[in-house]
């Protein structure tokens, strides 16, 4: 298991007690989502659709790279990785 930091966007911070980051141990991006789903009720439904795929208005970035350009949800993680959840925001 790798110890990674997950950056939580402002619109979803209410699901994690207001934190901007949470620490998770997992081997893959999918594993992170499972852990987040278990720990924080309601969060994953905002990020993923019923099939467990990221919604079309949410991207997951490992460091600066979109996981779509890596191995998607199967992307392997290493200690110290930063996974950012970045949804579209529309305010102006």
């Amino acid at each position: 298991m790798s110890n990674v930091t997950v950056r939580i966007p402002t619109p979803l911070r209410s699901f994690v007690g207001g934190a901007d980051e949470v620490a998770v141990s997992a081997d893959t991006v999918a594993g992170v989502l499972v852990v987040l789903g278990e720990r924080h009720r309601g969060l994953i439904e905002r990020v993923c659709d019923a099939n467990g795929k990221p919604r079309p208005f949410v991207n997951l970035y490992l460091g600066p790279k979109n996981i779509k350009a890596l191995s998607g949800l199967d992307t392997a993680l290493t200690d110290g990785d930063v996974l950012s959840i970045v949804p579209a925001v529309a305010g102006g």
């Binding site: 901007d20 919604r55 979109n66 350009a69 579209a88 925001v89 529309a90 305010g91 102006g92």
Partner: protein, 395 residues
Amino acid sequence: MSGVSGKDKRLAELRARIPEIEPTEAVALQARGAHLIDVREADEIAQGSPPGALRLGRGFLELRVEDAVKDKDATVLVTCAGGVRSLFAAEALTQLGYTDVRSIKGGFNKWKNGGLPVEVPRSLTAEQRERYGRHLLMPEVGEKGQLRLLDSKVLLVGAGGLGSPVALYLAAAGVGTIGLIDFDVVDRSNLQRQIVHTDERVGTPKVESARKTLLALNPSIKVNIHETRLDSSNVEEIFAGYEVVVDGSDNFATRYLVNDACVKLRVPNVHGSIFRFEGQVSVFWPNYPKRRGPCYRCVYPEPPPPELAPSCAEAGVLGVLPGVVGLLEAVETVKVLLGIGDPLVGRLVHYDALPARFTELSLDPDPDCKYCREGAVFPGFVDYETFCTNPGVAP
């Protein structure tokens, strides 16, 4: 008393050292890639100058020439009015290390009388020189860049939190035509962040309020106002003629219209969006000449349904935040207009104000994007308004 003046003695020395060429020879050399520098003063150049000449002015020649001509072994031809100042200038260039410098005999007078091509360069007025003086000092902008800004046409979608700082700074920078589209009126609750408006204008249309402020700041620019809500029936007509669109809208429906119209019209879409303490900035420009960039739909193919879109509701925003994000949009706009630096094409800057953290994320074009993929037939505009106000419809 000597019969020869110091000036004549000095000129004789220079003529012995600096090769002099005929204007016709200069034209031929210029056609083969030689640099031609016109060292006359601005008022002389305003009457005409050889086409393609670098107009550097004798007074600032040594300070500016190395930005204009980087190769010290390039052939450099120097001209003035009569062929005298150009000799002094040519010597100064050799002292800077230029190895092949030649002075044009008879200067611009002989050039013009010989029937060689002449262009009357556009130049800034004295008032413009004063106003934009700090731009003129930078080689990346200079007179050419300032004239480019004065000629440019930028449309700001939204005269609100993001639109305010963008509008103010683009007006100040001398962007010659600024279009503003917004259907709303100024509300007192806007003034916590929408700094282009004023308390006394509460209740008046935002586009009119913004125009007053911009013209007070810079009366020489043109401000076109479009007091309407952007939709699929008017987006193309409103966007036509603008070379950059700055998205400062506050809802997904407009953001997708902005994207789709920019893709269709091949216009860069300078994007900024905010929520409470965080913001995103990018330049969506699939046709950027230097690399293939994504469009907004490559990154976010569809908007969220209303129940998952916090921005559809009143979510709150730190009043200063649109200042930071809007000014990043303004900087990107000026870079795009001037063709300088590396715009945020294929990159997204994410700003989180609370930890004071800027993160750069890379954005890839989606090869299957319905709107911007190679050879795509434009699928049409979508009015998401209906969908946004109808929570029963799924994406």
